[in-house]
Symmetry: C2
Subunit: 332 residues, 2 copies
């Protein structure tokens, strides 16, 4: 191909649904590959809730926002189709922040070779951002111990489903919060969670009490929303809360208040926010922790595949409607 498609961000989130009016689809010339460079043809692109943060103008976030007029940021996986770089050969698979585009010229910086004999979709679902995030938050903040109880919100999501399965494999009682009965069924019957709460239809306080008779030691927060207060009230002494995502509140002009802090003292809780970019230096250690669970078949995943680069522009809405079933991936 002599040209390729890229999608630039041209507007900031406005509280309404994501749509093509936020983006500009452009055709670009295929770049010339210089010395020490190679060209990647992206095959699969990951859609993640973190993207809403990257699109927002807030300069205080953990990673600079995408500038207007620039290619939208995303992680992805691709194959090298041309190379003048001695460390990267044609046919190698690489993973990294490839962005919303078909071709990427690179000198290798920030990209990692994918050696694992797993399909692209599995790599993006388990070993990319979701698995690293789940492993980092669960072990560094959650500090799980066999016999404890963990509640995971967004439990059928790409991060939450891995957190729950890791905790289950470690001998914890695992309760997931989801937004559909289909997801509840999946996390309990396929992933082995001990219980599920449908936040849209269940009586949250009552169901949570039933499923966590010994209280809650760890909360892995991916969503925010009303479940947060109920979980907070059932936290045990010295409980740990990892705050990974607040998708329910991202689109709101005025964020919902959080819990009062009196229980922080009474129960000596720790609430800690985190984001993977702080921990990229720990990726080898995180992969070393995660890989055995995957190899022992303890981490299942499912993917929700959209077709074609342009499907990303509306696909992001699935995070808000909760209609995605599994890790959102765009196949190019």
């Amino acid at each position: 191909m002599s040209t390729f498609t890229a999608i630039n961000l041209v507007a900031r989130p406005d509280g309404g649904p994501v749509g093509p009016h936020w983006f500009e689809v452009v055709q670009k010339e295929r770049p010339t590959v210089g010395a020490g460079q190679f060209l990647v043809k992206q095959t699969h692109m990951s859609l993640d809730p973190a993207m809403f943060g990257w699109m927002s103008p807030d300069t205080e976030s953990y990673i600079p926002p995408v500038a207007l007029g620039e290619v939208m940021r995303s992680s992805g996986i691709g194959e090298i189709i041309e190379s003048n770089h001695e460390g990267f050969n044609v046919g190698d698979r690489v993973m990294g922040l490839l962005g919303w585009q078909e071709l990427i010229l690179s000198d290798g910086q920030g990209l990692n070779k994918v050696e694992a004999p797993l399909p692209d979709e599995a790599i993006l679902s388990v070993f990319a951002l979701p698995g690293l995030t789940a492993t980092q938050g669960l072990y560094s903040i959650g500090k799980p111990k066999a016999g404890e109880t963990i509640v995971v919100s967004g439990a059928a999501g790409s991060v939450g489903s891995i957190v729950g399965q890791l905790a289950k494999a470690d001998g914890l009682t695992v309760v997931g919060v989801v937004g559909t009965d289909e997801k509840a069924n999946w996390i309990v019957n396929e992933l082995g969670f001990d219980g599920a709460i449908n936040y849209k239809t269940d009586n949250l306080e009552q169901k949570l009490a039933e499923l966590t008779p010994n209280g809650i030691d760890i909360y892995f927060e991916n969503t925010g929303g009303p479940i947060q207060q109920h979980v907070f009230e059932r936290m045990n002494t010295h409980g740990r809360i990892a705050v990974c995502g607040m998708i329910a509140d991202y689109p709101k002009p005025v964020p919902t208040p959080g819990p009062n802090w009196i229980p922080m003292i009474k129960k000596r809780l720790t609430v800690q926010g985190f984001a993977m970019p702080d921990h990229f230096g720990e990726v080898p250690a995180l992969l070393a922790k995660l890989t055995p669970y995957v190899m022992q078949g303890k981490i299942k995943h499912r993917t929700h595949v959209l077709n074609g680069l342009e499907s990303a522009m509306t696909g992001l809405n699935l995070f808000f409607t909760g209609e995605n079933k599994g890790k959102l991936i765009v196949k190019l």
Copy 2:
């Protein structure tokens, strides 16, 4: 004396002011001192905000509530007036949870001898619960570094005033939140704080922005109230919040909501509640940390002394009105 006075708790906090109707003043026989025992005559008793927790029926707190009909719990200092214990002699000063009573029969458990050549009031103000709490929270959770900015609420209180002075001695910019101009003046001109905010009269957002131009790295929370949200919004990346007290919210039937958790992620904040009873094993290390600051004259204090055991029953209200000037101590 052949009898002594004690005060029992007979009612739970009801949202109204503390008063004699919560208590019962009783006369007891002077106990007989058996083998391995000694008798303490309490000279000074400490009043602390933590007492509201101890009086409440909540069984989830860090220390069991005081049972109705039992002597009210408090820490204090006294002199041994009779002893059949080889480790404790008549004339020794001891400190511990002596309770609201004039005489205490003890086998030594939970009591510590006071060797420091300082008056009782100074011991209770600096080396007892307030100083230990300040040292524990500031260093274990706050992790102060020279050049950082710390905000302390309840800054003229027994804990807050020590936190601020320790941080100042360590080279931080220290801003205190207080409820009167007299207290603001005291912490700035006597204790050396860099700035003070009167939460009752200042424009909180504006004054906080003026006093913390580089944002806030550490928040030491003693009070709750509206200042919390404003401080939370100005926290810097990787900021730490030690939650020590929420006096503004203790009397409320429905606690005020706290901040939304989105900034926890964006700034990777850690919010941690703590209570000294978890750390009694660390007391020697905490005293070793605190003592040099005191000996170098870097920790000033002032006491607000009430006279007579029965003054405690209404004295506790001073925590809510903010009318106390310095560490509240009852002189027996």
